[in-house]
Symmetry: D2
Subunit: 347 residues, 4 copies
């Protein structure tokens, strides 16, 4: 049985990591007596309160099981099937959700090529030519990932520009925040400063990639958008019966800076990893390292030998660009050990 | 903040209960090192092995987050949108999933009225008149709940009759097994004897209602039906990233008879509760108590006062029929206390 | 090649009839020069104007290819997938559209048993218990057929009662008006008196069953409901490119009482047929004959011999109830000839 | 009322044209007596026979109302929602059907940029990296338009290359043949030589753009793919009740070379138009003229004045590229008149 004899290590993804001990303790502490199922409970109230402290007192917050569910259901809440969702070619919703957004929302995704995972207003403008013509899908949502799938981060100004453009054209701005904590830390900004304050309308708030076991949140910055979301969540098969165990995790996650510490650590590990890899001949860092991902060209013949010890994914088969992700539990030993291995391998 | 000062008790649902301590320990034990996400890990292999020990070596097993997801995705795997799913009027898929089956499969549900939650072949036959005519949906799946939403249980013979009928007419038999453990115990039969051995084709295997925190399994007794299920699960937003924590729960659940002990306890509590309630004037037990649910007419004026102490749901507003559910952690004290309360209230 | 040597006759359906000569002439007259496709043309303006003369100056009208499309797209315009559509068990949308409403709207249909195809408020009330609870689909539309699939007709008062109930509970009243003309004639009422004036919100207005070649209309009595319907129609694959040929038909249909004459004739033929059949021993008329359908018990052994000469459908296999439909081109000779055949056969 | 006083002329689209007189006569001739609805009639048998003469004796053929319906339902027949459909960025299914393919099939469309509307195998290869990985949609269909939306035509060799590639990778080749007749004429090839003989699996066969009033056909070159298509057509709201009137059109269309003559004429008109426009300074033809479309850069200031007399569409707002379509009823006078107008305008 693979992977069970000793704890293994990898740079494959931040969801290959385990669960932070404080999260586990919060779960255990919530395991007392009977609690009304489906979220009508004190743990959920407490967790929602935490969200409101961080994101604004008027946000509507709904917990779901996972990240793809959070994206898909959130987008469903603000679209009709003849709408279009504009996103980067590299967006998780576009390439890593097996078409879940199209299946559940009925919408077309209109994607734009980017160098760094970040889209700009100029790239969206051409899609407006079809507005009002029934032959064409109607752009309704701009969806960005923060931090992006390329390890980069939108500045608050960049987000505001996108939000203003969206609102001017009767669109909404959606954020896939599977790694919003990493962006917040990177930007030295509060969560609110990079969301509510710059015009974000709806966000998937990630837990699992930052030390939780499972559970994500769909956050509506305008409660009127959430009016019927409870039905969408249930029909979307994401209403957890024992909701308290998601809520307890989120309460711990958002208390005592746990979310921030976890993300700060992961980001720091990524910076160190990138700095060290950059020194190695034949390895070429390809993206700015602004969050917890490092992208690099690693010549093809070295990839398999390296993957044996520390697993990671090839991002682009043609160019042999690979992706290293760090997480809350990546250690400096992991980095040192791996960098040594790379050096030895490419020598 | 309600429900947090002291552990509360209820008969509202088996999912108001918490998590069995052995399940929690299994989760903690799985929290070591990095593990490949999305199920390509040793914990998942071990859990699938357990399923095969119980249900047959050829079953295909897929873990999902919750029960509605298990039902909906499993049904999707074996239907096209022009198919129909035949079920009892009271089926969870028919009344308690906010239309999720229709939304995700596109199928119509054809429901039949039952006295006890159990459907018979004679009730299904009229739906066959439309077979082959394109104006009508084409019956493809018979879906039964075991144990049923009415606390009753299909005998192996009854299941076999439905399965044989289904197969004769090119249909499949699906089991919503959110409470399959309770049925297995009730029938003094192995899990395999009431599923694979009597012709079941596909089953949702419940965890959360029997002591797990979250996680259900979709079980295919014929692997060819599961051919593309991995895509359906991902597109259906139910591929857990940190899968190991569902798998570890299931491994514990299916080891050392935990599933059986939990269900046996819950069933026994229901029998005692029913026996004691039956002695009280004006309370009328309305269904056979074969699993962990007790249905009873409780005159309307008593309902609210009772609910204050031990919450439970009214099943039928017109007749004031209520439902009491017991769970793995219901105690004899709970029963004694509640029965005393009922006696006092109706006096 | 069957059916081509000589014109055959049947009572199978009003859509087995051909096209009224005035409709054909209108089509030919519209076949001049180039016209902007997709409905931005004078023929369509003229047809919409006719609709407004008949139904009220504020209706929004959209043409589609066929009746199932009209029902499905109209219902889509006023529902979200977590809504439910309440209808009679016998409704075309429930049994004769191969699940198209569920597939396209995502909604569950909640059907009620009726004796005569007509639903009442009391039958709908129980569905309201789930309003506001996310586990249950939310009733949003009451859909009735006028005239019904059983050849009966709702009175204006009955419609108003349903509409008032719907509006009181934030629902809408939808009419499948595939045979609205027959109902209008039967009730000696204008089209407006049995729709706009009694609270109907949205209607499928039938053409093909009353002498047109193809083409139905979706009519919104409140234009705000139609706000995005042009996208729904296009995405629903029902935007005709050469729209003028549907529009020209409707203009003719609604001019010089053609719609009324056709329906009046069909209704009269049905009454005569019913009157004559009622005189024959062993034939039992089972429904009031208020429109252009006649339902009767015809002993099983006579059905096949009769069908050879005048085709018709068996409605209920168990009871051997059959359905005879008359149309704008049914002749008194048809009736006389067929009644003679029945007499000879049952003798 | 616009457009009704005198027949207007345009180059807007081949569906701005009317109906060929022979088609109208066929419709009138079919208007005799009663015929079983929904396609179980002699006219439909005759039309299917014609299709088999042209496309091969084993094709399965189903008539639907329109072109978007033909594309969407045909694609639905060969896909599951987790599949992807690969097509050109300019494909009608990608930009002109308001997201109908996504809505009805649930699939993602993967589009590739082309210069001339034609896709190549090399452009499709990168999509194969995700095959077998559940995170990614699974390419299942390559869909090409013949002739393309850019007025170009795939050679039989090009089609065969795409079909062979598709089949090698367990994909299918779909053809949007809204203008298949124009391609056939352009290639001086029979319909079969550019479809069945070069590996096409499924095709939308266009009628309305080549002189019919309404009606398209979905053609399956392998009948096993069509096994359940009758349900898909009905559930897809495209089963015409008075089917005979589509069938009669197709029978006429495919008899006595009408389809070919109409297309040949339209193609010739396009060639003449292009030849004459090319002589005018400041007008630049941008695509090869291989079918009945002409693409040209027309400086922005001239567009509106020209559109007043002969309407046409701007294809690309940025470059002021416009599209002229010719049809079976475009006359040499139309061309001469319009070219004179252009000359006068740009002078």
């Amino acid at each position: 049985m693979k992977n069970r004899t000793k704890p293994s290590r990898s740079f494959a993804s931040d969801n290959n990591a385990g669960v932070h001990p404080r999260i586990l303790r919060a779960i255990a502490a919530a395991n007392k007596g009977h609690v009304v199922a489906y979220g009508d409970d004190g743990y959920t109230q407490a967790a929602v309160k935490k969200f409101r402290e961080h994101l604004g007192k008027d946000v509507a917050v709904f917990f779901v099981f996972g990240g793809t569910g959070a994206n898909v259901l959130g987008l469903k809440a603000v679209t009709q099937p003849y709408h279009a969702i504009v996103c980067a070619e590299t967006a998780h919703i576009n390439v890593d959700e097996c078409g879940a957004p199209e299946k559940f929302t009925g919408c077309k995704l209109l994607s734009v090529l980017t160098k760094d995972g970040k889209i700009t207003v100029d790239q969206i403008k051409p899609f407006l030519h079809g507005v009002g013509f029934e032959h064409h899908v109607q752009p309704r949502v701009i969806s960005i990932s923060q931090s992006t799938e390329m390890g980069t981060v939108y500045t608050p100004g960049e987000i505001k520009t996108l939000a203003d453009f969206a609102h001017k054209h009767k669109m909404l701005l959606h954020v896939d925040g599977a790694r919003i904590a990493n962006a917040s830390v990177s930007l030295k900004a509060d969560l609110k400063q990079i969301t509510a304050d710059v015009g974000v309308d709806i966000m998937s708030f990630g837990g699992a990639k930052n030390g939780m076991m499972y559970g994500e949140a769909v956050v509506f910055f305008d409660q009127t958008l959430a009016k019927d979301f409870k039905y969408i969540r249930k029909q979307g098969t994401h209403l957890a019966s024992k909701m308290r165990f998601i809520s307890a995790q989120f309460e711990a996650h958002l208390s005592d800076h746990l979310w921030r510490k976890n993300a700060a650590h992961a980001n720091r590990m990524a910076r160190i990893l990138a700095r060290e890899l950059a020194k190695i001949p034949r390895i070429k860092i390809t993206q700015k390292v602004e969050a917890n991902g490092v992208f690099a060209i690693v010549p093809k013949r070295y990839v398999a030998p390296l993957q044996k010890k520390y697993f990671f994914y090839v991002w682009n088969e043609e160019t042999s660009e690979v992706r290293f992700m760090t997480s809350f539990d990546t250690t400096e030993d992991d980095i040192r050990d791996f960098v040594a291995l790379v050096k030895k391998t490419v020598r």
